[in-house]
Symmetry: D2
Subunit: 115 residues, 4 copies
Amino acid sequence: MTTKATGPATDTTHPGGKCDPPAEHHLCMPEDARKRASRRLAIARGHLESVRKSLDDPDVYCIDVLRQLKAVQGALEGAAGVVMRGHLEAHVVAAHERGDEKRIVDELMELFKYT
Amino acid sequence: MTTKATGPATDTTHPGGKCDPPAEHHLCMPEDARKRASRRLAIARGHLESVRKSLDDPDVYCIDVLRQLKAVQGALEGAAGVVMRGHLEAHVVAAHERGDEKRIVDELMELFKYT
Amino acid sequence: MTTKATGPATDTTHPGGKCDPPAEHHLCMPEDARKRASRRLAIARGHLESVRKSLDDPDVYCIDVLRQLKAVQGALEGAAGVVMRGHLEAHVVAAHERGDEKRIVDELMELFKYT
Amino acid sequence: MTTKATGPATDTTHPGGKCDPPAEHHLCMPEDARKRASRRLAIARGHLESVRKSLDDPDVYCIDVLRQLKAVQGALEGAAGVVMRGHLEAHVVAAHERGDEKRIVDELMELFKYT
């Protein structure tokens, strides 16, 4: 039942930590997606810090900074893609079974709107 | 002459550091834009780190992570906007006078293409 | 059974036309979403045509054209949002029940990748 | 003088039509960019119309519509790229000489903001 509550489509039993979500949603992120997204964000953070440091150099060229920022944005999109896939697989595809499809669809549409 | 070389439209004399760019471009980022972009990136880095830390929590919800990543992306876009405005003001609007308009336009178009 | 095959979360019985999809997917777009998206695309097409005609005027200003194109892009995004919501409601949230969640998720992720 | 007013970096004498812009800007789009953008928009309009027609078919699949809309969006971006390059070459790179760089930069930044 707990497994069902967190989405039957993917194993979300969280061997590396207990999933004890607030009562209002009862959905936890698949552990594999959490770990992979975390690694990607750590790399993006390092890249972002090196772009910031490059701004200490009076000789830095605007276009080089913009290119590097674009690469960091790409890395963040990659991490967001990992989270999104995990969400689709673990929660969205089984929303009708759980009965929370209205909330699930509204959340996704709100997210797309701002993209 | 030095002023002209770094773009006559904006003061790019860099009181806080010498602008000594490589011979191939001779264009330096306006100091004010450098400092403001750097501050924004420091804030974005802090936000990104807090998103990464939130992934250590097995209870974190996918949609909350995606919303936070979107906010970080917005912060990076804000920083890129500061750099872009500095570039336009200091370098692009005077490219015809300097005679490097072909390179300047090609660089911008290449950047837009990947957006 | 037919209802289930086209996604139990939304009525997709298509009173205005028979849904007779190719065997490989068995999923039809909800009629309401089809009609609303079609109306939005008709409006966007009219707007696009007026932008195209504005280019016949030698006095047209680049920035005005770019602003109008942006408005057309926004209209297309609005239409795509209607289609996406219909897809999520009618097909994605019930994919686990149907058993085609792998295909459904892969299709969505491929679409997001290019955005 | 007329040549200068329309941006010295590119020929904007408009052999195919007189450039007689309103007094407030005095900048005309390069004719070549106008014609190429117009052709691209005509193609995009045809593509958009075929997507709209595909929505008359009750069997159309949501994801196919979304893919086609993405292709139309790409075509509009291509047309916008033609207009943007013409604007950069004809107007932006010579803004400092004309003395309207503030307006030119503000217009561009406003456009980027909504992207």
